[in-house]
C-alpha cells in the first residue's frame, strides 16, 4: 500500500491519542498524524482545508463518546461537507462501546469502513 500522507485521530482521551500515535508511527504508514480532542475541532479544520483547497486527510480514526461534538454529530456534519470534495476518505470508528445500537448505527454510514472496539491493533492498516 502506498504510504498515506495524512491521518487523523479524533478522540478526547489524551492517553489513547498518545498510544494510537505510537502504534501508527511504528507501522510507518503515514507521514503526518493530526489529533483532535472532539468532533467540532476536526470538522472546523476540515472546513478550513476545503476552503483553502489544501490536501485533505487520507484516513480518519473516530471515537464516538466525546464532549462538545460526538462521533455521530461529526458524521452528520461530514456528510454535508463531503459534497464539496471528491476524495473518498475511509473512516474507522474506534470506541470502547460494545452497545449493539452503536454498531448498527455505524453500518448505516457508507463512509464508515469498520467499527473497532478498543483496544485495537492497527497493524491491519499496513496490509491493506
Amino acid at each position: 500500500m502506498s504510504k498515506l500522507s495524512s491521518l487523523w485521530i479524533v478522540d478526547d482521551d489524551k492517553i489513547y491519542q498518545f498510544i494510537l500515535k505510537k502504534n501508527i508511527e511504528q507501522l510507518h504508514i503515514t507521514d503526518t498524524i493530526s489529533s483532535f480532542p472532539h468532533g467540532k475541532e476536526a470538522i472546523d479544520t476540515l472546513r478550513q482545508l476545503i476552503e483553502n483547497q489544501s490536501p485533505l486527510p487520507d484516513l480518519i480514526l473516530l471515537d464516538i463518546n466525546m464532549p462538545v461534538m460526538d462521533g455521530w454529530d461529526f458524521m452528520e456534519e461530514y456528510i454535508v461537507l463531503k459534497k464539496q470534495f471528491e476524495k473518498t476518505i475511509p473512516i474507522y470508528i474506534i470506541s470502547s462501546s460494545i452497545a449493539q445500537e452503536d454498531k448498527t448505527k455505524a453500518r448505516s454510514y457508507e463512509d464508515i469502513v469498520d467499527f473497532l472496539v478498543k483496544p485495537v491493533d492497527l497493524s491491519f492498516l499496513s496490509l491493506s
Binding site: 492517553i15 489513547y16 498510544i19 464532549p67 462538545v68 454529530d73 462501546s97 483496544p119
Partner: protein, 608 residues
C-alpha cells in the same frame, strides 16, 4: 168501560151468531167479529188479522169444530178456542177438549159464555207472559259469556248455559249427568266442599276461585259467584285462567328479578330521568355504604360523588346513550359514604317514548376496585421495572465503556514499556500509567456514587430549610463565584421547609449552581437566580442563569445521560447531571429544563 174483543166466529147460522154476540156485549165486551163457515175463509182470517178468541160451532156443513181447531193449531197462534154446540155428546166433548180446545158450551147455556171467555182470555194472557219470561231467560242464558249453573243440593247440575260447553267442552247432558265434584281439580276439592257447606248454610259466595278439569284434560281457573235460593244454587262463573296465568307469569318474573338482584354481587339501579327519581337495590346501597332505607335521590346524587376527573366523560357517555348513541358502559370512581373513591363499572339501558324522550333507564353497578387498583399497581410496577432495566443496561454499557477505555490504555502502555529499550521512554510511560490509574480511580468513584443512589431503597428524609441549604452551597462555591465575579441571588423564602434527604439536597444544589457558574457566558457577568415556588403537590426549585445555554434540539435527549458534556470545558466529566437526575428521581421528583443557546438556562426541579 167496554172491553174490546176481536172475535173469530166459525158459525153457519146468522141467528146463532147474533145471539152469541149479544150475550157477550151484554157482559160488557165491545165485540168486533168476523164470521166464517168454510176452511178457506178461516185460514184467510187467521192469516190476515189478529184475534183474541176463536169460537166455533161443532156442526157446520162442510166444515165443523174439529176442522176449525186443527186450522188454529196449524197456524201456531196461541189463541183460546171455545167450542159451541146445540147437541154434542159427552164423548165428542172429551175428545175435542183432549185435542186442545180450552172449553165447550151448549147453545142453550150461552149465559155462561162471558165467564168462560173472561177466564180463557186471562189464561191466554198468563201463558203469553210466561212464554215471554222463558224466552228472555233463554236468551240471556245463551248469550252470556260467563257460565251459568243452576245446581241442586243433590250434587248435580240442573241447568247449564251454552257458555259451559264452549269453555269446559262438556255438553249440557254430560254436565247434568255427573256429580259436580267430578269436575273439580283434586287440589281444590277441600276448598270447594267448604264452599258448598257455606251455601247450605245460606251464605252468598262471592269470588270463590277453584279449578275445573275440562273435557280435553286441560285445567281452567274459575271464579264463582253463587247464591243459594230454595233448594238450588245459582252461579255465574267466570273463566279467569288467562288472568291467573298472566299473574303467575308476573309473579315468576318478579321472583326471578328479586332472586337475581339478591344473588348478584352487582348493585341495581332504576332511574326515571324526567323526575330524576331512582331506585337503588340493597346491594347498591351496600356497595356505596348508604343506609338500607334512607332516600338517596336520583342520578344527580351520584354525579355529586363522582370523581372530578371522571365526571366529564361519564356525563358525556350518559348523554350520548340517552340520545340513542350506543351502549352505556363506563368505568369510573364514586365516593362511598366512608369518603373513599372506589372504581365501579356502571352499565345501563334506557327506554324511550314515541317522541324519543328517555323515560326510564336501568342498569348495574359492579365493584371493580380491586382489579383496577391491582392493574394500576401492575402497570406502575411494570414501568418501574422497565425503567430500571433500561437504566441497568445503560449503566452496564457505561461501566464497560469506561473500564475498557482505561484497561486498553494500560495494556497498550505496558506493551510499550516492554518493547522500548530507552529508559527515558520507560519513565514517560510510567507517568502515563499513573494518570490512567488516577482516571480509573475517579471513574470507579463516580460509578460507585451512581450505584449507591440506584440501590438505596430507604433514603432518610428530614425537614430542611431550603434557603439555608442554598446559602451553604454558595459558601462552598465562594471561590468559584469570586473568581468569575458572579452575582448569585438566593430568592428562596426562608420560611419554606421541605422534607428531603440532606446529602441529596446539598449535592443537587451544588451541582446546578456550579453548572451555572461553569457555563457562564464569556461576554457578560454571570447572573444566577435561585427561587422556590409552590406547586400542586410540593415545590418547584428554579435555578436560572444567563450563561451560554444548551441547544436542546440537538442535545435535549442526551442531556442527563452519563458522560455527556456539551462544551469543551476541562472540568466537565459529564456525570454531574446524571447523578443529580438520579437523586431527584429517587426523591420522587423530576427535572425540567428550558434553555436557548447564548441566552441562558433554567432548571426546574420538582420536589414533592
Amino acid at each position: 168501560m167496554k172491553i174490546p174483543l176481536r172475535l173469530l166466529l166459525a158459525e153457519d147460522s146468522e141467528t146463532d151468531a147474533a145471539l152469541l154476540i149479544r150475550e157477550l156485549e151484554k157482559a160488557g165486551y165491545e165485540v168486533s167479529c168476523q164470521q166464517v163457515d168454510t176452511a178457506g175463509e178461516m185460514e184467510e182470517a187467521l192469516r190476515n188479522d189478529e184475534w183474541d178468541l176463536v169460537i166455533s160451532d161443532y156442526h157446520i156443513p162442510g166444515f165443523g169444530g174439529r176442522e176449525a181447531l186443527r186450522l188454529l193449531q196449524q197456524s201456531g197462534l196461541a189463541i183460546p178456542f171455545i167450542l159451541i154446540s146445540g147437541t154434542i155428546g159427552e164423548e165428542n166433548a172429551v175428545e175435542i177438549m183432549k185435542a186442545g180446545a180450552q172449553d165447550y158450551l151448549m147453545k142453550g147455556n150461552l149465559a155462561k159464555l162471558p165467564a168462560v171467555v173472561s177466564r180463557e182470555l186471562a189464561e191466554a194472557q198468563n201463558r203469553r207472559e210466561r212464554k215471554e219470561l222463558q224466552d228472555e231467560l233463554n236468551t240471556l242464558l245463551s248469550i252470556s259469556i260467563d257460565m251459568i249453573f243452576i245446581s241442586g243440593m243433590d250434587g248435580y247440575f240442573k241447568r247449564v248455559n251454552p257458555a259451559v260447553e264452549k269453555i269446559l267442552g262438556y255438553t249440557s247432558a254430560e254436565m247434568l249427568s255427573r256429580n259436580y265434584f267430578e269436575f273439580v281439580h283434586p287440589e281444590d276439592m277441600a276448598s270447594t266442599l267448604e264452599i258448598i257447606n257455606k251455601l247450605r248454610e245460606g251464605y252468598i259466595i262471592q269470588s270463590f276461585v277453584n279449578r275445573f278439569v275440562c273435557k280435553n284434560g286441560s285445567i281452567k281457573w274459575l271464579e264463582w259467584n253463587t247464591r243459594p235460593l230454595g233448594d238450588k244454587y245459582y252461579s255465574i262463573v267466570r273463566d279467569i285462567s288467562e288472568r291467573v296465568l298472566a299473574q303467575e307469569e308476573i309473579r315468576k318474573a318478579n321472583e326471578r328479578f328479586d332472586l337475581a338482584v339478591q344473588g348478584s354481587s352487582d348493585g341495581i339501579w332504576d332511574w326515571f330521568p324526567a323526575e330524576d327519581l331512582a331506585y337503588f337495590s340493597p346491594r347498591f346501597r351496600e356497595l356505596m355504604g348508604y343506609p338500607a332505607t334512607e332516600y338517596i335521590g336520583g342520578m344527580d346524587a351520584l354525579s355529586q360523588v363522582t370523581h372530578p376527573d371522571d365526571l366529564e366523560r361519564t356525563v358525556a357517555a350518559l348523554t350520548a346513550h340517552l340520545e340513542g348513541q350506543g351502549p352505556f358502559e363506563v368505568e369510573y370512581r364514586l365516593k362511598t359514604v366512608a369518603g373513599e373513591y372506589r372504581w365501579f363499572l356502571v352499565r345501563g339501558q334506557a327506554i324511550w317514548d314515541e317522541a324519543g324522550r328517555p323515560v326510564r333507564m336501568a342498569g348495574s353497578l359492579t365493584d371493580i376496585h380491586k382489579g383496577k387498583v391491582a392493574q394500576e399497581e401492575l402497570t406502575r410496577a411494570f414501568n418501574l421495572v422497565n425503567e430500571q432495566n433500561k437504566r441497568l443496561l445503560n449503566f452496564s454499557y457505561i461501566v464497560s465503556h469506561n473500564l475498557r477505555s482505561h484497561t486498553s490504555n494500560i495494556s497498550a502502555i505496558l506493551r510499550y514499556i516492554e518493547e522500548t529499550d530507552s529508559m527515558a521512554e520507560k519513565i514517560e510511560m510510567f507517568e502515563k500509567l499513573k494518570s490512567v490509574s488516577q482516571y480509573l480511580d475517579e471513574t470507579l468513584y463516580s460509578l460507585n456514587e451512581v450505584v449507591s443512589i440506584q440501590t438505596r431503597m430507604d433514603i432518610s428524609r428530614e425537614m430542611l430549610c431550603l434557603h439555608a441549604h442554598v446559602e451553604k452551597a454558595l459558601t462552598l462555591l465562594c471561590g468559584m463565584i469570586h473568581s468569575r465575579g458572579a452575582v448569585i441571588e438566593n430568592r428562596v423564602d426562608p420560611e419554606i421547609m421541605i422534607e428531603y434527604n440532606l446529602s441529596y439536597l446539598d449535592s443537587i444544589l451544588l451541582n446546578f449552581i456550579s453548572n451555572a457558574l461553569r457555563y457562564s457566558h464569556p461576554e457578560r457577568r454571570c447572573h444566577v437566580v435561585i427561587d422556590c415556588l409552590p406547586e400542586k403537590t410540593g415545590w418547584r426549585l428554579l435555578i436560572q442563569d444567563n450563561g451560554i445555554g444548551i441547544d436542546l434540539d440537538k442535545h435535549g435527549p442526551k442531556l442527563f445521560g452519563m458522560y455527556k458534556t456539551f462544551h469543551g470545558n476541562p472540568d466537565a466529566k459529564g456525570l454531574g447531571l446524571f447523578i443529580t437526575k438520579n437523586q431527584v428521581e429517587a426523591m420522587g421528583g423530576c427535572i425540567e429544563v428550558n434553555s436557548r443557546p447564548n441566552e441562558g438556562t433554567t432548571f426546574n426541579v420538582y420536589m414533592p
